[in-house]
């Protein structure tokens, strides 16, 4: 089945489910036809493949939060991100602030492709933390989800 036929099949299922017998069958066919045309010309086959890859990657993503708190000094971000890069933890979000003289850095990282476990990463971070008088916490995202989302 080619892409256009697949789009049409999918559109037909969704539209029929939503509108069903409330719309005249001829009108239904026109609506399905027009939406299919639009979608088929809007996205190229290559883009569809990319979309598919992205969806797949989003699904298997596993995230953690790295929180760095303590005395401000030169090179904190460099040290922390170097360890993350070396262990293939991808940084997805970064938030940094100086709160009443204290340095606070919160990184959201994708750990699905990471070379080490959270425990091992924590040990590596503890070395930086000791050297720079910081506290570094690494926590799996589930703890924030469970405590803050219903």
């Amino acid at each position: 089945m080619d892409i256009k036929a697949r789009i049409e099949k999918s559109v037909r299922e969704s539209v029929s489910e939503e509108l069903g017998s409330s719309i005249h069958p001829e009108k239904l066919e026109t609506v399905i036809g027009r939406i299919t045309e639009r979608l088929a010309t809007l996205i190229t086959p290559d883009e569809l493949v990319l979309l598919k890859i992205k969806q797949h990657r989003d699904l298997r993503k596993e995230m953690a939060v790295v929180s760095v708190i303590g005395e401000d000094s030169v090179g904190i971000v460099a040290d922390v991100t170097r360890i993350l890069a070396e262990n293939r933890a991808n940084i997805e979000g970064m938030n940094q602030a100086i709160v009443s003289g204290y340095f606070a850095l919160i990184l959201t990282i994708d750990i699905s492709g990471m070379k080490v476990s959270i425990d091992e990463l924590q040990k590596l971070m503890d070395q930086v933390a000791d050297r720079k008088h910081l506290k570094i916490y690494i926590q799996h995202e589930n703890i924030f989800t469970s405590m803050n989302r219903i």
Binding site: T108, I118, I143, F144, S146, M147
Partner: protein, 455 residues
Amino acid sequence: MNFDVFEILETIKMSALENLDVRTVTLGINLFDCVTGSIETTALKIREKMLSRGSGLVETADRVAGRYGVKIVNKRVSLTPLSLVFGRACSVEEYVSAARILDDAAKELGIDFIGGYSALVHKGITAAESAFIESIPEVLASTSRLCSSVNVATTKSGINMDAVLRMGHIVKRTAELTADRQAIGCAKLVVFANIPEDNPFMAGSLHGPGEGDCALNVGVSGPGVVHRAVESLPHNADLGLVADTVKKTAFKITRMGELVGREVAKELGVSFGTLDLSLAPTPAIGDSVADILEAMGLEACGTHGTTAALALLNDAVKKGGAFASSFVGGLSGAFIPVSEDATMELRAAEGRLTFDKLEAMTAVCSVGLDMIAIPGSTTADTIAAIIADEISIGVINSKTTAVRLLPVPGAVPGDEISLGGLLGRARIIPVHTESASLFVQRGGMIPAPIQSLKN
């Protein structure tokens, strides 16, 4: 994932500064398949099952704790009440040597306590149970990890006063046998009404006869977190808002515990039992239930208003917990173990928190008269009368109540004992000295209350 910085910092603050932790993961193990004709063979089979089912407990708990950056303080094992498993009556020596086998197995597993040296005698005591109960003082004196509990009443059955009187003597004897260690044996012995079958907290933890083969029950704590939340409210915040704040905090704590508990259970390959959300204090500063009551506006825990404040706290904790988890069980509420709560111990030592006030508080908290050091001169009959009072509160109110007293030999009011670790320290507080002997020695059953006729 989309969390704001406040949410992330709040979680870190709770675990790093406010003593939020998973207090215990307790693996319940059913022992009915270990029953044999000989107590020694049975004990060896129990040991084998404990070692096979519990071998990964400590390591798995530590690994999961690391993943979430939350402490799991205790890893423990609870067993089917051993009076049911050991069957026929044995000699005290036989019980002691079987208990030692289990105590050593706990040591091998790397856990600090196992629960289940227990008997359920709320309706009557068999000859075997009688021999078993008789062995409790020697067993507790010659082991260090094994904990004992005896259920003497339920709302459905009434109060077995013969068992109550018997336990008065057992508590006294346990204190005498461990007199050289500040009566520490008594810290491992609890007398219950309406004992829960899935409570993860020691010393009263057991794996009830209605439970499956194995289940992981989780106890979550966090008095420090609740204290900070209440303390940060303005003085003009009304009590509805105080309750709401406690409830929301309890919700977060429970969700964290359930997440961690389920993960440990999954990795161990056992079913998740229940989540017990109990504000269990520790002697650490800032981890006190009394602090929460005082933050609500009491000058000292123990003054008038304390019972109402505790009732509010206990109920709000349950409501937050019940919303957060579908499997809330065990004791769930607020604990008031005097020696284990730094502020409560201080108020008791100052004479501002009295024995009678503690008893009143137990009507609205989740357990009972817990970890209270009383004078060594207290008679077995008086201890039985204290047990009867406390147990009747549980029976009439259809709730669990329990008694864990330390009648420290030779100690008089004002003396201080130190039990070490999570058990803390305590000042001896006075109890009434007028005799209740005639009452408790009448024996028999106090009939089940009218509340039991629900069918």
